[in-house]
């Protein structure tokens, strides 16, 4: 059945054509390739992968290109694609202790086994615009050393060895990791789902919340136990084989925050943890996540809930930027039916006031 609809379809089609034109820009310039985006705008690609919860650099780069560099739009594109993918299974938890680290810094120890490794960081760059980048001058090869292949000990494990930090937390043996993209959300939320929400959460929102805890809105006395960036193996268990097989490696950023200690009559004092783990390289996000994770554990530690960052329902309900942008932007959809209702009411109320001023009885009119 064909139905001719007035105007709307043509308008939408034309808008999309114009969008495609603006996306491509000046045709005399070469189009950016997916490879170029992956290689040269890697951190934008990483943010899209992290907040879309899909580890696929070329697809994330495609999304960045398709969205004209609007990263929330790119995250949205990649998530909508992710939803349609079949699930083959659940991986074995990745082991970040076995990470091939590219960067690893600890703020709690001057030196430690495995050393402090600055890696590819903006830290200590002087933020001066670099004119040499305009000319695309050749870039030197980095300094390399032979990988030892040795695992780099985690700071949390050093503290755990002395019993100075709480354990990682335990789930029952048969616990299946939850998935907020497949199950209805419910509060209070178990920590696995909460961490998943934070890992997908908007970087800017978590940054602001993490910052607010430092300024006293739910202070947690944080120390960066360790930040590490590098590659880890992803393995899946194959019941038929009786062992797990590797699916490949992914790059992740992990932040272990060491926080405010806690003790009681029964247990000697121990430091507590906040945890952040993100696809790709994103220290800011991993650190913010670990601050907010710790703040959200307030109830677990019997701390007073006084600040926004400690309020689970508030934080989790508003951390998703695809939800947030959709709902904020939906206000531009037509609302004229409801507006008409408000308009009529306001006119009526004004007329009543006017009538009252002139000595008429407004209530009589209202009852009509």
């Amino acid at each position: 059945m064909y139905v001719a609809v007035k105007g709307g379809e043509t308008a939408i089609r034309n808008a999309h054509r114009l969008l495609a034109d603006r996306r491509r820009g000046d045709r005399t310039l070469p189009s950016v390739t997916i490879e170029q985006i992956v290689e040269q705008l890697g951190l934008a690609v990483d943010r899209v992968m992290a907040e879309a919860s899909l580890y696929d650099r070329p697809l994330a780069a495609l999304a960045v290109r398709q969205s004209r560099g609007d990263l929330i739009e790119a995250i949205f594109l990649l998530r909508a694609y992710r939803t349609t993918l079949p699930r083959f299974g659940t991986s074995v938890p990745i082991d970040t202790a076995k990470m091939l680290v590219e960067r690893r810094v600890s703020a709690t120890y001057k030196d430690l086994p495995g050393g402090q490794l600055l890696g590819p960081t903006f830290d200590y760059t002087h933020r001066l615009l670099d004119p040499s980048l305009i000319a695309d001058t050749p870039v030197e090869e980095p300094e390399r050393r032979e990988a030892t292949g040795d695992a780099v000990m985690r700071v949390a494990d050093i503290l755990a060895h002395e019993g100075l930090i709480e354990s990682d937390g335990e789930f029952p043996e048969d616990h299946q990791a939850g998935d907020i993209t497949r199950e209805p959300m419910e509060f209070p939320m178990p920590r696995d789902l909460r961490l998943q929400s934070l890992a997908r959460g908007d970087e800017g929102f978590l940054l602001a919340l993490g910052y607010s805890t430092q300024r006293g809105y739910g202070r947690t006395h944080p120390f960066v136990g360790e930040i590490r960036i590098g590659e880890v193996e992803v393995e899946i268990e194959v019941p038929e084989l009786g062992f797990s097989v590797s699916l490949g490696r992914i790059q992740v950023t992990e932040c272990q925050m060491v926080n405010q200690f806690k003790g009681s009559a029964k247990a000697p004092p121990q430091f507590t943890r906040g945890y952040g783990l993100i696809f790709g390289q994103s220290e800011r996000k991993a650190m913010s996540m670990s601050l907010v994770d710790r703040a959200l554990r307030a109830e677990e530690f019997g701390e007073d809930i006084t600040a926004p960052a400690q309020d689970e329902e508030f934080v989790i309900s508003h951390s998703d930027n695809v939800q947030a942008t959709g709902f904020v932007e939906h206000l531009k959809l037509p609302h004229y039916v409801d507006f008409q209702a408000e308009l009529a009411l306001v006119r009526k109320m004004r007329a009543d006031i006017e009538a009252a001023r002139n000595g008429d009885n407004p209530m009589q009119e209202a009852a009509e």
């Binding site: 007035k6 993209t181 037509p334």
Partner: protein, 291 residues
Amino acid sequence: MTDLASYNFAYLDEQTKRMIRRAILKAIAIPGYQVPFASREMPMPYGWGTGGVQVTASIIGPDDILKVIDQGADDTTNAVSIRAFFEKVANVAVTTHTKEATIIQTRHRIPEQKLGEGQVLVYQVPIPEPLRFLEPRETETRKMHALEEYGLMHVKLYEDIARNGRISTTYAYPVKVAGRYVMDPSPTPKFDNPKMHMSDALQLFGAGREKRIYAVPPYTDVVSLDFEDHPFEIQKFEQPCALCGARGVYLDEVVLDDKGGRMFVCSDTDHCEERREEGHTGEMPSQEAAE
């Protein structure tokens, strides 16, 4: 790169449809109660009808005829976009005629034409919780529903009366369903509330971002909350539709110029067109007068 172009009938995978279908059946069994469901990320923004689209996608079949309206009109851009989505992913027949449709997905209106037994009305819902603006916490509102504790809602409506002399809620006006749950009818003008009561058609509500599905079965009491001394009343328009002369319908105000010139026309475009085809006319102002 991965093959990107293979989507299932009606976009959603079968497992997702089953999950939504189970939620719909429970929603019908508990009229007005909001069933949590694992809302999927749809290829359109949250707040733009993802809940309604998921409900429609889970119930629609090859024999269905779909109508999509936004603000009562078939030709508003988001309605056009959603209709085009279903034509593409489900290859279903579409219509603008209320009478012909088996499924009507709507945002902000209920058609003027009385719906029949063979029809399902699917509402797009932004905020499904009627108590949300009184109590923002889900953990709290869930308790209130469990205990049938709706005093807060009456207090709010009564404060309206104290302040403005009347209940000043004009849309998303709360209703009580089957004598138990207080429900948000979605942001339809309260003008449409009476159409929900004892409707011949099944009414389904989908809120994608908020991950809730709820329902009103046919022939179910839907009562707008009110007070004895301030009974519920719907909007009345002083003039008939300028195009078809209809009275007792909801009208849009169309601004004609910058000198206060305006006309009022049916918000339900199909209803208006049908009446005009039947020969009804209104006092549409002449072009000269409007200019």
